[in-house]
């Protein structure tokens, strides 16, 4: 492990100055978005706009709720995200356990098949998936939004790597005690894999919350939209000015950013883990 030591105070201050100004530059879009979301309409049409609103119009936030089925699409997004995340973590961890701990004919071939699936972009599959949805009559339904996206090859890959790192003795011992593989998975491997499950779960949640293309394809009714699609499509229609639009965008993004503050360590480690394997 290396961490460079910066000794002279002057160099350290310089580094802080650079990082702090870069950080401010990075935060500027968020800051501007918050400032805009609080502006009255007259502030939006200034050739040299100012950061501080002439008056704080908190009503823009309540206008979001009255101008669009925002409560509904917010609830849709939360529900769909939770369902997809639980589904992905459960299904992928079951498969990852089998691929890493059990011996069975065809194991390596099936795993390779899943990995190959990672390389195919979703756009190739989107039309056939759409046809399947129409056949099942799942257009504009929650199952249509949820089920096609709960099978994560990436999750199987990530969790398998983690399970492989757990000492085999745990497994052998439980097997001799007469535990069946599901019990071993549930009682031993899941608790031990909690950091990896948390990291993958957060990634799954993030991906699901922000997902756009599939939600755009499989829904048409305003009441079945999710936040990403709503914000992209309701511009001009429901969100009549930029202050209201950005209030909606802020409400769609800040909950996740706040969750990140709490899960920062796990998430960063999880991402580093996924990148180095």
């Amino acid at each position: 492990m290396t961490r460079q030591t910066v000794k002279p105070t002057l160099a350290r201050l310089g580094l802080h100055a650079v990082l702090l100004s870069a950080g401010l530059l990075f935060m500027f879009p968020f800051i501007w978005s918050i400032s805009t979301s609080l502006k009255p309409v007259s502030d939006l049409f200034q050739v040299t706009p100012s950061l501080i609103p002439s008056e704080f119009r908190w009503q823009n936030y309540s206008d979001v709720f009255s101008s669009a089925p925002f409560v509904r699409i917010y609830a849709n997004t939360i529900f769909v995200t939770i369902a997809r995340t639980i589904g992905q973590v459960f299904i992928a961890s079951l498969a990852a356990f089998a691929f890493s701990q059990l011996r069975f004919p065809g194991r390596d071939f099936l795993f390779f098949l899943l990995l190959a699936g990672l390389m195919v972009p979703d756009q190739v599959l989107i039309v056939p998936r759409f046809i399947i949805m129409r056949q099942l009559d799942w257009f504009d339904t929650y199952q249509g939004l949820i089920i096609p996206l709960i099978f994560s090859s990436f999750g199987v890959f990530l969790l398998r790597q983690f399970f492989l790192g757990i000492p085999k003795e745990f497994h052998e011992a439980a097997k001799l005690e007469g535990a069946n593989p599901f019990q071993i998975y549930w009682d031993i491997y899941l608790p031990l894999a909690r950091p990896a499950l948390a990291a993958f779960g957060f990634l799954a949640m993030l991906f699901s919350w922000n997902e756009f293309l599939w939600a755009l394809t499989v829904t048409g009714d305003s009441n079945m939209r999710v936040l990403s699609v709503g914000i992209a499509l309701f511009q001009g229609q429901f969100f009549t000015n930029n202050a209201i639009l950005l209030a909606a965008a802020n409400m769609a993004t800040f909950p996740l950013l706040i969750a990140f503050l709490f899960f920062q360590k796990q998430l960063v480690e999880g991402i580093a883990l996924s990148g180095l394997k």
């Binding site: 460079q4 972009p121 399947i132 011992a173 593989p181």
Partner: protein
């Protein structure tokens, strides 16, 4: 843990009794545990992939049955100027995006891989855009780039500089989009670089310092070569993902119902779900898959020239 304490007798019994039967039961359990994943994968990946390939040989509007037209979609692809524009826009976004991201991310990772205070605070600042919904990012930045009332042109104007119509001109729109993608993706590369930097043994730097190597020499001769596997990984997945850009660019550059900067995935969506030319839309998607594969293989080919594996 009580399961860890095993008598020798139990172990012997396990070895004596039907190892064949045990293997079969283990395999059955395994199939049961992978079943949900494999069923979903078969339906939404394997079957979908097969159907997708077949549909490239058809013309289909989703209302009537598909009509077999042989290779007509493929020949159309080669003469399609709109596809060429979309492909050009996509590569013109993807390549600078990956290059700039790598450079800025490495600089940030180097600055954060020191013993200064507030490291995790800074890391959080640079990482926040990675978590932000691309549609929201597009919405926010479209407003920042607004030619008449946005802060970017406000600043340029107050300095007496020209105020470009950023998103209305393909050339400036590409620059604008690359800046946004840099902002939104650099935090991810930075985290991976930080993890890579952590694996470089400290002794290397100490030895080099004793030999009188300057900071720049240590960076050039130790850090850069030892990070090449990380850099390679990031440039491979960076290209794969940026060739698929859609939502962010779609939100930013769709102005008055027309898209100023159509990308390949946007074109697929338009052809399929707006113009109802499903067969052709899927053919474009396969072309994209092929292009991604070419870029990836090319990078793996070139890797021998510059990637050092310890």
């Amino acid at each position: 843990m009580k399961t860890a304490e095993l008598s020798v007798g139990t172990q012997r019994r396990a070895r004596l009794f039907g190892s064949n039967q045990q293997a079969r039961s283990e395999a059955l359990w395994a199939y049961l545990l992978i079943a949900p994943m494999m069923i979903g994968f078969s339906v939404f990946f394997l079957i979908a992939l097969g159907a997708s390939l077949v549909l490239t040989f058809t013309s289909w509007d989703m209302l009537t049955s598909p009509v077999w037209i042989g290779f007509a979609n493929y020949t159309r692809l080669f003469g399609d100027a709109e596809f060429r524009t979309a492909l050009w826009n996509t590569t013109a976004i993807a390549i600078p995006n990956v290059v700039f991201r790598l450079i800025v991310a490495l600089a940030l990772a180097m600055a954060l891989n020191t013993n200064i205070r507030f490291r995790s605070f800074y890391r959080m600042l640079f990482f926040m855009p990675v978590l932000t919904m691309p549609v929201a990012i597009g919405t926010i930045w479209k407003w920042l780039y607004d030619p008449a009332f946005g802060p970017i042109n406000g600043l340029l104007g107050s300095m007496g500089l020209p105020r470009p119509e950023w998103l209305l001109e393909p050339r400036t729109a590409i620059i604008a989009v690359v800046i946004v993608l840099l902002w939104s993706g650099v935090g991810y590369d930075m985290i991976i670089f930080l993890a890579g930097l952590q694996t470089i043994p400290r002794d290397y730097y100490d030895a080099a310092a004793i030999d009188g190597a300057s900071a720049w020499q240590r960076f050039r001769d130790i850090t850069v070569p030892l990070l090449t596997p990380t850099t390679f990984f990031l440039s491979v997945i960076g290209i794969i993902f940026s060739l698929q850009v859609f939502d962010l660019v779609y939100v930013m550059t769709r102005i008055d119902q027309t898209n100023q900067l159509p990308t390949v995935v946007y074109y697929i969506y338009e052809e399929g779900f707006r113009s109802f030319r499903m067969g052709y839309a899927i053919t474009v998607a396969w072309a994209l898959l092929f292009i991604i594969l070419v870029f990836t293989l090319l990078q793996f080919r070139l890797q021998r020239r510059w990637v050092h594996y310890g």
